[in-house]
Symmetry: C2
Subunit: 218 residues, 2 copies
């Protein structure tokens, strides 16, 4: 459970935190059931989740993916309605944000960790916004792959293997593209030899610097 767990499991605030949230098992494809009346902070103990925003007209945008040990802020009073959904069998702890923050005030180390994570999420979200606002389909997919390599890639000599837990639809919903466009861009990258794929979920990144170049990362 990564670097967050120590803060949770020690100190006087830890017991108070435990009282706030029951551990929950979320089955693949299910939404984390949270009270729609307040903001939540959800800790992903194991598994993978996606944070989905719904706009009008049934359009959905995946705002972030989360892996074991990560913490997600799920807002409720926003312009769009958000929900957190499990990509695989996932264990979570869902804390009402206000209660969590109340406890964190008296636990500076916990609060500092929370702040650090929130800033990381903010910086990721900004980089994502740049991609959505100013990049073409090819750059978006390249950027996505490089980003995933960073988080869940298994490095090999000069290359990197990815086992993607999300479907092409999820990738499209994350990149602001249709499933068809994502597919075409996969084919394109395959054609140029930058990646290889096998089955639906395995991707081999053959040259990450070249992919980052193609992603338009400055």
């Amino acid at each position: 459970m990564c670097c967050f767990e120590p803060s949770v499991s020690t100190g006087s605030g830890a017991n108070r935190l435990r009282g706030l949230a029951q551990p929950m098992d979320i089955r693949q494809g299910r939404t984390v059931p949270i009270d729609p009346a307040k903001d939540f902070l959800v800790f992903v103990g194991s598994g993978t989740t996606k944070l989905i925003a719904s706009a009008s007209g049934g359009r959905e945008q995946i705002v972030a993916f989360h892996f074991s040990g990560e913490l997600v802020s799920v807002p409720v009073n926003a312009w769009h309605s958000y929900r957190l959904s499990a990509l695989v069998q996932t264990e979570v702890l869902a804390f009402p944000a206000e209660d969590f923050l109340g406890i964190a005030v008296s636990e500076p180390v916990l609060q500092a960790e929370l702040l650090r994570r929130t800033m990381t999420a903010l910086h990721r979200c900004r980089d994502k916004a740049v991609g959505l606002g100013r990049k073409n389909a090819q750059e978006r997919l390249a950027s996505f792959l490089v980003g995933m390599a960073d988080r869940i890639g298994i490095a090999e000599e000069g290359s990197c293997t990815l086992e993607l837990p999300m479907s092409r639809r999820d990738i499209g919903d994350s990149l602001g593209l249709t499933i068809e466009t994502v597919s075409r861009q996969f084919s394109e990258l395959r054609m140029t030899g930058l990646i290889e794929t096998s089955g639906r979920s395995r991707v081999l990144l053959r040259d990450i610097p070249a992919l980052a170049e193609r992603a338009g990362h400055v």
Copy 2:
């Protein structure tokens, strides 16, 4: 200087914070000069700023606007290069993020405020990502106007006046659109009677609920 100033100006950490940053006056159109080797936290004392990300090919995406009393996190180790630029004559305090956070650990109230603000920024950024990923030009502009009304609008009976400090280019760079498309959408909204404009910067929002509807806010 809003609700952040009290935290800065009282307590033992306040003096330490003051030692970290000289107040700076940034002239219209100039970039806040910060050491490109480390992350910064910039407090906007008065004025307005834009946080710009540069992707390859000279493309720019404005990631956020900031008004008096707000705090901006300017990252350096990200996929894109960021800079903070003044839309009008602006006073700022620029803190090296690491130093600021070091002091904040021993000032729970300051840290809590910082956390609260960072979460607000994250939630705004997510809503923005939804717009960039899944909305058409009309919805994006409507969303922008409603958002600005929320932050700097002068409410009147049933309507709201905006004095926009940013150009059409800035709006385009913020919405992931070209200046021409922004202009056409302004005309469109004018035509349908949802807004009136006078001069380059004044906008009258005649029906905010209708605009929010058109913005695709759920």
